[in-house]
């Protein structure tokens, strides 16, 4: 009980701090990519305490605190035409759902017994929940409710259209997300994130290598689920007024924004754990179920480093890729991601079966399977590209007269 509470405190504290500093990092990265400097001034305002002291800048590390205070002190305006209860409920539900996912996501491997307790401590809030992946999926679906509630309760057509747009996107990409994971679950035979990581650690083959197609499908779908560019149509800061949180301000808006960052962090956790071996790294972390202290700490460090790198990639992609048009977004989910996910599923099953039948477990066999998986991945990718489902001509047809067009509609 106490142990769980301590873990919850660590996870929530860590996540909130991380989210705040990732906002700063994102702003700095954006600035660097755009040849600017970014927020680098807010540090420790020592001159407020004593006139003769100089302010410390600390590379802008005070910015998250300043941002937070700004959000809290800003007028929190509730428009008269909203449904008050749902309006308040929406940001809370989305944040709660986002935080609750971390109950089953491990943030390390396991701590050896002796120093802290007589039992080994699993670094996950609810150890032994055998269906971790299911919980993550269930909770990430609840996030859609937050979006719809927010847009609906706002009683504003722009919010409502934004909510419809987002829910269509989130629901469409849930499918490839599931298909991407299906291959991993097939290969490990478990829904438990811990088991999935150990399976990769034991063989040394991360699933990103053995199931490249599944990895791409999951990766892209994770971007879409986290509503990051190039799939940030739920927000579209630049050209569509905000989206579902148009009417929100002050601390309620902050809750939405934090929840969005948590989605990104959760997506990074899942990407790393499902496809990049979680806490495993060759020669450093070992693979046994009962690590020593050094290994246990190394595993946490490796996991955090990997997650940090994935988040950096999330941030760089934002400034590299233009946003999809909405019809392209849907076509991408249903006509590209879905078939690729199915192909991956079949390929993983076939390769697995082939190995079992051949009974050969030599490293050469491993290499052969990986090579076959990559060939399938590239062939499928090129094939889908040539089918070209994203190339859509939405203009009215010049060769039809208006009556024909009417009859077509």
């Amino acid at each position: 009980m106490i142990e769980a509470l301590i873990k919850i405190a660590i996870v929530i504290g860590g996540l909130m701090t991380a989210a705040a500093y990732f906002v700063l990092l994102e702003r700095r990265m954006a600035a660097w990519v755009q040849d600017r400097v970014g927020p680098n001034r807010v540090g420790a305002p020592l001159s407020q305490l004593n006139k003769s002291w100089k302010d410390l800048r600390l590379f802008g590390l005070g910015q998250p605190a300043a941002d937070g205070v700004k959000f809290i002190l800003k007028e929190e305006y509730t428009p008269a035409h909203v449904d008050k209860r749902l309006f308040v409920l929406a940001p809370i539900s989305i944040l709660v759902a986002a935080l609750a996912t971390f109950a089953v996501i491990p943030f390390g491997s396991i701590l050896p017994p002796g120093l802290l307790s007589d039992e080994p401590i699993a670094l996950v809030i609810s150890p032994g929940a055998g269906v971790g992946m299911l919980v993550v999926f269930a909770l990430s679906s609840i996030a859609v409710y937050g979006v719809i509630l927010g847009g609906w309760a706002s009683n504003n057509k722009y919010s409502f259209l934004g909510a419809l747009r987002s829910s269509a996107q989130l629901i469409a990409y849930e499918l490839p997300l599931g298909l991407g994971i299906l291959g991993v679950i097939l290969a490990t035979g478990s829904l438990d994130l811990d088991k999935i990581i150990s399976a990769q650690a034991e063989t040394g083959w991360w699933f990103a290598f053995t199931q490249p197609l599944g990895f791409f499908v999951f990766f892209v779908a994770a971007f879409a689920e986290a509503a990051r560019l190039p799939f940030d149509l739920p927000e579209c800061e630049q050209e569509l007024i905000g989206g579902y949180h148009t009417e929100y301000s002050g601390i309620k808006l902050l809750l939405f924004l934090v929840a969005e960052f948590l989605h990104m962090i959760a997506a990074s956790f899942l990407i790393v754990m499902l496809f990049f071996g979680g806490w495993h790294f060759w020669f450093i972390t070992g693979a046994d179920a009962n690590p020593g202290w050094v290994q246990a700490i190394l595993r946490v460090a490796v996991l955090m480093t990997k997650i940090f790198l994935v988040i950096l990639f999330f941030m760089l992609v934002r400034w590299s890729w233009p946003r999809f048009r909405f019809d392209q977004l849907m076509a991408f989910a249903w006509k590209v991601m879905l078939p690729l996910g199915l192909i991956n599923f079949v390929a993983v099953a076939a390769i697995d079966q082939f190995r079992t039948i051949s009974g050969n477990t030599s490293p050469g066999m491993d290499l052969l399977c990986v090579a076959v998986a990559w060939v399938i991945c590239i062939v499928a990718w090129v094939g889908i590209s040539f089918a070209g489902p994203l190339v859509a001509d939405n203009r009215p047809r010049a060769d039809l007269n208006p009556f024909d067009i009417d009859s077509q509609i």
Binding site: A31, W32, D35, V37, S385, V391, P396, L400, P402
Partner: protein, 181 residues
């Protein structure tokens, strides 16, 4: 406008090449650009000027449009001949001139008072453009601040003192024009 309107010009979308269809090569290209800029910024090549510590550099201070000055001729008299062209040209109506008969032989009028409301001014440079004797000019002083509105209404003395302060760094553009040289 209907779809069969003869005024519509139909443009064919350019066909996507192989790399465009495959998407990933294009993405790598974009990411490479991102990394290039990231690298440059991290090497300190960002274009941002950290203002209070670092003064902005103007390529050519003579064409910068900052605080005004009233030029003096070679005898130290105000060059302006109170023709009101600048006040007429000013889109913000912020120049206020009282012209009286001049005590000197070589011109008929001179400004008894000449005030510019620097807060109303939009720094468009029309006054400078309109002046027939190049008496009014915009300098490269950009960091104009004050504690009250009154302080920001510059009178003749102030404008002349701006000339004294900037004449060495920013020479008058056409000293020969107007009045006795």
């Amino acid at each position: 406008m209907k779809a069969d309107d003869p005024n519509i010009k139909w443009v064919e979308e350019p066909k996507l090449g192989l790399s465009g269809k495959m998407y990933a090569p294009m993405f790598v290209q974009g990411l490479a650009t991102t990394f290039k800029h990231l690298k440059n910024s991290l090497q300190g090549k960002a274009v941002t000027v950290s203002y209070p510590e670092q003064e902005p550099q103007f390529d050519n201070p003579l064409i910068y449009r900052g605080v005004h000055r009233l030029n003096k001729d070679s005898q130290g008299r105000v060059k302006c001949v109170a023709c009101f062209l600048c006040a007429t040209a000013c889109p913000a109506h912020c120049i206020d001139i009282i012209g009286i008969e001049s005590p000197w032989e070589d011109r008929e009028k001179y400004p008894e008072s000449f005030t510019i409301d620097e807060l109303r001014c939009i720094y468009c440079g029309m006054c400078e453009e309109a002046c027939p004797v190049d008496a009014i000019e915009l300098t490269s002083l950009y960091n104009l601040t004050g504690r009250s509105r009154e302080e920001m209404i510059f009178d003749k003395e102030k404008l002349l003192s701006v000339y004294d302060a900037t004449k060495d760094t920013e020479p008058m553009r056409s000293p020969g024009m107007g009045g006795a040289v």
